[in-house]
Amino acid sequence: MTILALLSGLVAFLVVSPMFWLFWQATTVEATRAYDLVVSSRTAWITFNSITLMVLVTVFSILLGVPLAMLTTRTDLPYPRLWTIVAALPLVIPSYIGAIAFAGMFGPGGEVDTLFGATIPRVDGLSGAVLIITLYTYPYVFLTTRAALLSMDNSLVDAARTLNAGPLEAFRRVTFPQIRPGIAAGALLAALYAISDFGTPAFMQADVFTSTIYWEFSNFAVEYAALLALQLIAIVAIVLVIEAGIGRDEDVAGGTAKGSVVRLGRWKWPAMGFVSFIGFLTLVVPVAIFTNWLFRSEGDPIPSLEFQPEFAFNSVYLALLAALVACLFALPVAYYSGRSNSLVSRILERATYVGFAVPGVVIGLALVFLGTRTLPSFYREGVALLVFAYVVRFLPQAVGTVRSSVLQIDDKTIEAARTLNAGRLETFRRITLPLIMPGLIAGGVLVFLTTMKELPVTLMLQPVGMDTLVSIIWGAQDALAYRYAAVPALLLVVISGLSMLVLLRQEEV
């Protein structure tokens, strides 16, 4: 346990280290301006907006993610694997790309307007940001809830039903308490994504906390951007504490007993229609919009945006490395906090979430500083620093899933192994590891998916001249030459879809 504690301490220290740069930067600010900045009425207003955005995205993600998870695991919906992939895939589209596509399709003057003359109310401002971010982050809730549903002992529901509980009451009294930690874990990720996102609110002209961080950043006043980022972290810390309470793990009884499924009957049509509709909005629309540009536009060629297979290779390579390292890092932290319910273990686990809640450019800049000061010869040579940056940002996704699987291990199994004279390592290798493998794979896939779409840190730390699918999509958007975004966007969706198959396959074992 001591070694474990030290290892998790080390991991937590590593991923929190960029925050020291924030503190150090923040100490260089001039007090009066800093004070004005931090306590101004504008700051209060945007803080309110950011919290509203976060709360609404979280609520809607739950309202969307939980029913979809129930639908794909607990009913006789035809082709459940297909719908699972469709429901999870929006996670791979950068939300600001989704926002641009959404405006191009449904906005005034967009495709629908041009083709059918249908005027759909304009989607913008805070409500627009809530809509778009929800559509691209609810899969967090979907995936974690789904995992919880799959590992829960479903025969309990049947028991409740035989005791004359209605389906709703059975859900409320039996299913919900069991999957609550799963929902909470996904909701936390959605909440932190919402509060730290810049691109989508900026596109929607919503005034949120990250806007001011960027305002200072674009003024090259990095020290003030750092100060504001710390303020953001303070808000996030409160969220982390609250979630620690909600997601509290009354040791979830693991079990794989299959209960009966809900028969949808005629309802399966609207159900499939619902999932298709979500998939249409989130996946088909962006790809269609870009593809439309591919055929319509006739601009001068931009040589460096011309598609090359290595863009896809680079994306996959980076995402695989990030997933691997994140799993390695997540293991000690998740195991320690799952097995020992001490305050220290909880704090270390929570600490890994901080990097997820800080805007990417801020983390990127911190690592530029730390990277050039510690290992300058690796800076922008090779991908080590970049992969580390991904881990800093996305580690909590793996920690969360691994931890839930650790919680489901029955202590007695481990005790049994130990009494049979298996050493600690052997017990871990032969008993524990196989039991938490599903959690590790799920975490790895989550990190893979989000790394595939990561933009700000990639642009800052990739070896100079190395392009990925998303950096090309960005470059195309920046130059208003969307035709170059079509192929990379399509590949992004296809490759990520394939990675989902890994997740589904291991669940069937």
């Binding site: 005034p108 002209q205 305002w215 208003l480 030459a481």
Partner: protein, 387 residues
């Protein structure tokens, strides 16, 4: 007011100094470590000290044929987009077999902040930016070095840093972008004085701008210098309160909204003309056009240019590269690809935009406005024009 301004100046000076000092200390401590790791951190000498390989550049149009060959590798951080500089880079790589250009694209402000954080380990040989304010920031923080004398002298003083710490490569004037189908009238129906845009009620509810861009801040700094701070504040305030100006955080987003022309989209935007050129390049029938004000901050001439970082591997190559940008072919690529104006006197402007003599943009030292960047930024925040 004065008291506050003094504080501000002092803060910038001491705050940044202290920051640099602290950075220096940690760098010194780690320099040994870097040495052990085999990093060749040796400085190969100053760019200003190496003479041209062949011809030097001047205000007359020099041809690439007369300049020294480019051979070796250069790393360029670019805040410009790929469509703007790809053509000239590709042409250079085709011209010289031994030349490799590693170009890193990111947002302009990210690039500047990144170079400043990289300190002595800066990965870029050059920064190519569309914003004089960004290059001026690099100069203020001591992150760029002086260019060779002939390069400096080839460009008029108002298009570069006076001491040659960075130079403009191509220029543009700020413009009025508008949707030709939705604007009631044609390009001549716009006021020729930018100040009237805040008071003319034809613009109420239909005008937009992008306040977080470098050139918009330059425009505000220029307005303060020409019209005075109080008038500038009044203009910003009227734009926000009376005209209900729509604010974008991206120049491309804004231009697309103008083109799209939905009911709630703006009809008129204050921005750079190359956004319209870009949309017309993709779709020649797009309903977007540009108009200009005259002899006021609204038609501020601004440049995109380059600065050379302190520690470059091959100073001669870097210097020759910059000469190529200022030579005739380099200037022509900028005109063709971006619809920009040349900065070298004897290169004639060819394109659809009005002649500079006609617009009479006011002349400024783009790297040293009376009001500094942060004050301009604060002015915008205080008057409510933020995104």
């Amino acid at each position: 007011m004065h008291q506050r301004d003094d504080d501000r100046t002092q803060r910038t000076a001491t705050g940044r100094r202290r920051f640099l000092a602290a950075t220096g200390v940690s760098v010194a401590g780690l320099a040994g470590l870097a040495g052990c790791l085999g990093d060749d951190g040796e400085s190969a000498g100053a760019v200003a000290d190496v003479g041209p390989r062949e011809a030097s550049v001047d205000s007359e149009a020099v041809s690439w044929d007369d300049l020294g060959d480019l051979e070796g590798e250069l790393t360029i951080y670019s805040g410009r987009t790929r469509d703007q500089i790809d053509p000239v880079f590709v042409a250079l790589e085709e011209e010289y077999d031994g030349l490799t250009l590693n170009v890193d694209y990111d947002d302009n402000d990210v690039q500047v902040n990144q170079i400043l954080q990289e300190g002595d380990a800066v990965a870029a040989d050059l920064m190519y930016s569309q914003d004089p304010g960004a290059l001026a920031e690099l100069e203020r923080e001591g992150a760029v070095q002086q260019l060779p004398e002939d390069v400096v002298d080839a460009v008029p003083e108002s298009y570069r840093e006076p001491d040659g710490y960075w130079t403009g490569v191509s220029g543009r004037v700020r413009s009025i972008l508008y949707n030709t189908e939705r604007w009631d009238g044609d390009g001549d129906d716009f006021p020729t004085d930018i100040m009237e845009f805040a008071t003319d009620d034809r613009f109420e509810g239909i005008i937009s701008t992008r306040p977080n861009s470098g050139t918009f801040r330059g425009f505000i700094q220029a307005m303060v210098e020409l019209e005075g701070e109080e008038e500038t504040r009044e203009w910003v305030r009227a734009m926000v309160e009376d005209q209900d100006i729509q604010l974008f955080s991206g120049g491309s987003d804004q231009a697309e909204a103008i083109e799209r022309g939905g009911d709630d989209d703006p009809v008129v935007a204050l921005g750079n003309s190359y956004y319209a050129a870009r949309i017309l390049n993709e779709d020649p029938d797009a309903p977007i056009d540009v108009a200009f004000t005259e002899n006021d901050p609204g038609c501020l001439f601004s440049v995109a240019g380059v600065g050379v970082t302190n520690d470059v591997g091959d100073p001669e190559l870097v210097a020759e590269f910059v000469r190529h940008l200022l030579a005739e072919e380099g200037q022509e690529f900028m005109m063709d690809a971006n619809g920009e104006y040349p900065v070298v006197e004897d290169v004639d402007y060819v394109g659809d935009l009005p002649d500079l003599e006609e617009l009479e943009p006011p002349e400024f030292d783009l790297s040293d406005f009376d009001m500094d960047l942060e004050e301009a930024q604060d002015l915008l925040s205080e008057e409510g024009m933020t995104v």
